[in-house]
Symmetry: C2
Subunit: 546 residues, 2 copies
């Protein structure tokens, strides 16, 4: 049996283009003499469709599209992810389903059994789980068709399974001798190598059957999908792997596979770099933009953001804006100019001093006799936010904000100031990882000025300011944040890890108190196991300090 | 049996104060010779605790608090909502549970069976459902203890039950002769009278047993809880009802109830008014603020917001700011001043003309030869946003934004401009309902100047602007929005309701395209059946136009 893995990049709700692409890949797979072509989870609608699933017209369009796709399935069979209606008298209105299509008709449907409802996933919100599952005969095989989470509950692999049911065990018990899994499994750093691939190899070895894993690729809002679709043979050997962060069609003859492959291995910083490029490219394109504008401070965060944007979109689609104040050092201006020249992007210099002074004048009576404080610092950031939004409004640029995860965690950023923009590209990248990205970007030649990397970070909103005036060193801050935000550890446990108690309490207090800022932040690209945003839902009004 | 309904207002994660309040109500109930005192769902933690439930230390604190509460239960029994650990080897780590406490010990625990996972609810994200349930002997009764959603699945009452299981039917089948339900059931206009109370009366009548329903009260972020705890007797008669939007302790002798009562009935506008007052009061208090600042344009939205704030917080805790531009009419300024005087609040006048001109000067080279457009309109709104945030930063005021739901739906508002602030008080109130609130606020004397109500709405961001230049009349807009947003109807269905096709398509296109603005909006107080925010989760990047 020759199986084609169609690793495609869909847009939520773009039924026409999604259908066209699926039909194109069916044709390409048929041209390569595949017997079966397999598409990712919810390939028809794009993933995640979120609350569009509550709109009956959206479900109708998806069913119509599936019908049009089925019509093109001849001389090959296909497995296509779509949204099916729940025909029972109770429960959620729809299922997350795989259609098994043969000779222009839907031969069987296979609903998802396990519905992830944690982190960024809300599937119990929408879907009714499968009530029964069964394998399906195809050529000489009995295919066990499963959907994403269905393979993530092996009681030997996981220390504590999340679900009572194991659909794979169930399918195998019914005689399935090939497991097919269609997925939309988002990227997180090290997830593919360390978890997903290990798990698939474990399961294939355990059950002595091949696993065909087809994942979606590309970005949808905050989520980016790495692809990395694979075929594992019945001896647990990796015999095919699709590209990372690119569309791909991989055809494998299960009876006569090529020899075991060793896929190209990427370092964590390389995969994060690829994830950010893919996430940015798709957000810009799927939102209908072409160009982006970025405020350049001369610091490392905006430099990394601009370098990523140029690599993702091309230097003619990136505009830089320098908005110096009286507190900006000449060095910072020089660094931002050097960066722009290294990247070959258009840059503009718009000083904010006059506007800042005019604000101070109109607020003079009001603030008479009160000292310069966070008010004036924020005001400068907000003037910059206004200018960059004016450029966005006038020219139709998408604004990229440049804040990193460490700042966002402790609220070291200004609402309606540097937080103004449509996409917060590196907002899930901890500061220590920003340095790694900068070094990686400079691996062949200096793109980001060395000075932007080497100098002590500063917001430059008052004289002689340094980030370390108000925050612990980033290596320590990021260690505490990883323990608290990503690993949900309690204060006592974090202190036992060796961090200073006073610092730990102060950091966690800041994280908990700054939820209101994050609630109004632009979406970012999730690259860690726990990003702020839809995967971390915290109350604003509360009184829990750990 | 004398039962006390303890309708209390808790703060998420404030274990000390929550415990103190529960102990106080235990004592008050004991002093009134109650045999049993019943508290709302998750009374120990506050509701909704959201992702604090993922932090083990949060669960520990809640268990410690429950222990301290149990210690105070003597001479009375108590039912208290808390978070229990799931002792099984798989599944979610915790249950949403009611503790039945007698003589200082937890005699039994009762887990929630049905976990709402739709709209603002995410309970499958956190909780493992009950695997078995059973009633508990108390005095001469067999109590069926249930939690919120558990009573919302009667197959006779609902056209299509959401769950296969009906825990109430199950408890009754096991002999329960009193049903107790502890809830945290958020307010939506007309929900109590039209749904909740009707359902409870239906169920009591059907099963011929009394229903004791105890609901939380008060605001937590976007959700506000109306209380309205009730006792329905075995003949389906309402024999007790606690206050609306206030804490209360109601003691009922089930064997000798008072005669049937007729609770005070409120009109929809009255309940929305109460909900907004309670939501604002608690958001301000639970976030640690005292005073609020509001930009006053002379229009109806900011007038209603200011009037609600004064009623909720007192006139000494509300500051108004007028920020006129060259496009502001003298009438608008006069109306805002008159409003401030009617409300007895401090107001400041800070004209934005100088700052606006300075921005135009520094952007002159950049925008040379390009016409005045949305850029300059937004810039004015953003200058106002900056000024009001400067006042917030300098004095520690919470900023209330003043946009209504109709504007937010179609994006008729400026990110980082009039959307700047900590709470968007009326962002779930459609414009047509804003008029109703204004008339209600003016029911005894003119508080909101008649002119603010009567004049055609305008953003006053360019000469002779009117909302109806870019939007259909609000009565039509709100009709379409209700059908699309609240009722999730498709375009064809909405057109069949009698709306013009072109208008419907344009409105829905605007709603779908402006998700990016709402993603960065301040939280608002949910008063309708479907608010923007956590209850409506839409992708930003998509291509679905209905």
């Amino acid at each position: 049996m020759k199986i084609a893995l169609a690793q495609i990049n869909q847009t939520v709700g773009d039924f026409q283009k999604n259908t066209e692409k699926i039909c194109l890949y069916i044709e390409r797979a048929r041209n390569q003499n595949a017997d079966l072509v397999v598409f990712p989870e919810l390939a028809v609608t794009g993933y995640p469709p979120k609350d569009f699933l509550d709109i009956p017209a959206f479900i109708d369009e998806n069913l119509k599209a599936l019908g049009a796709i089925a019509d093109r399935v001849y001389g090959i069979s296909a497995i296509v992810g779509f949204v099916d209606r729940n025909k029972q008298r109770h429960g959620k209105l729809v299922h997350n389903t795989a259609a098994f299509i043969q000779d222009r008709r839907i031969a069987s449907v296979h609903h998802k059994s396990l519905l992830p409802t944690y982190d960024v996933f809300d599937e119990c919100r929408y879907f009714e789980p499968a009530h029964t599952i069964s394998p399906v005969r195809f050529m000489n095989s009995l295919l066990g068709i499963s959907i994403c989470e269905d393979i993530w509950n092996d009681e030997e692999f996981w220390p504590r399974p999340l679900y009572e049911l194991d659909p794979i065990e169930n399918l195998i018990a019914q005689g399935a001798n090939v497991i097919i899994n269609i997925s939309s499994s988002p990227f997180a750093v090290e997830k593919h190598d360390r978890i997903r691939l290990r798990m698939l190899i474990h399961d294939a070895t355990k059950y002595k059957v091949p696993f065909i894993y087809v994942n979606q690729v590309g970005g949808n809002d905050d989520l980016v999908f790495d692809g990395n679709s694979v075929v594992i043979d019945a001896r647990g050997r990796l015999i095919a792997q699709a590209k990372t962060f690119e569309e791909d069609l991989v055809v494998v003859d299960l009876e006569n596979p090529e020899v075991q492959i060793q896929p190209r291995s990427y370092s964590p910083v390389e995969t994060v770099h690829m994830a950010l490029l893919a996430g940015l490219r798709d957000y810009v394109k799927k939102c209908g933009f072409r160009k982006v504008v970025i405020g350049l401070s001369g610091g490392i965060d905006s430099a990394v953001t601009a370098a990523l944007a140029v690599e993702s979109l091309g230097n003619t689609n990136v505009v830089g804006v320098l908005m110096p104040s009286q507190f900006s050092s000449q060095g910072s201006i020089d660094d931002a100019v050097a960066l722009s020249q290294n990247l070959g992007i258009t840059y503009k210099i718009i000083p904010i001093k006059d506007v800042f002074e005019t604000y101070q004048k109109i607020l003079q009576t009001e603030f008479e006799g009160m000292p310069f404080d966070i008010t004036e610092e924020n005001l400068q950031a907000r003037i910059r936010g206004n200018i960059i939004m004016a450029l966005s409004n006038k020219y139709g640029y998408l604004v990229l904000t440049t804040g990193n995860k460490s700042e966002l965690a402790v609220g070291y950023c200004t609402l309606y100031g540097d937080m103004s923009g449509g996409l917060a590209l590196i907002s899930d990248v901890p500061k220590t990882m920003v340095y790694g990205l900068a070094r990686y970007i400079n691996r062949e030649r200096e793109i980001i000025p060395q000075n932007s990397i080497a100098k002590p970070p500063s917001a430059e909103l008052k004289p002689n300011q340094s980030d370390q005036d108000s925050l612990p060193p980033y290596a320590i801050l990021d260690g505490i944040l990883k323990a608290y935000v990503e690993e949900a550890r309690g204060i006592d446990e974090i202190i036992r890890m060796g961090f200073d108690e006073k610092v730990v309490r102060e950091v966690i207090r800041k994280v908990n108190r700054n939820e209101y800022k994050r609630r109004q932040a632009a979406p970012g690209i999730k690259v860690t196991s726990k990003a702020f945003g839809s995967g971390r839902r915290m109350p604003i009004a509360h009184n829990f300090l750990c």
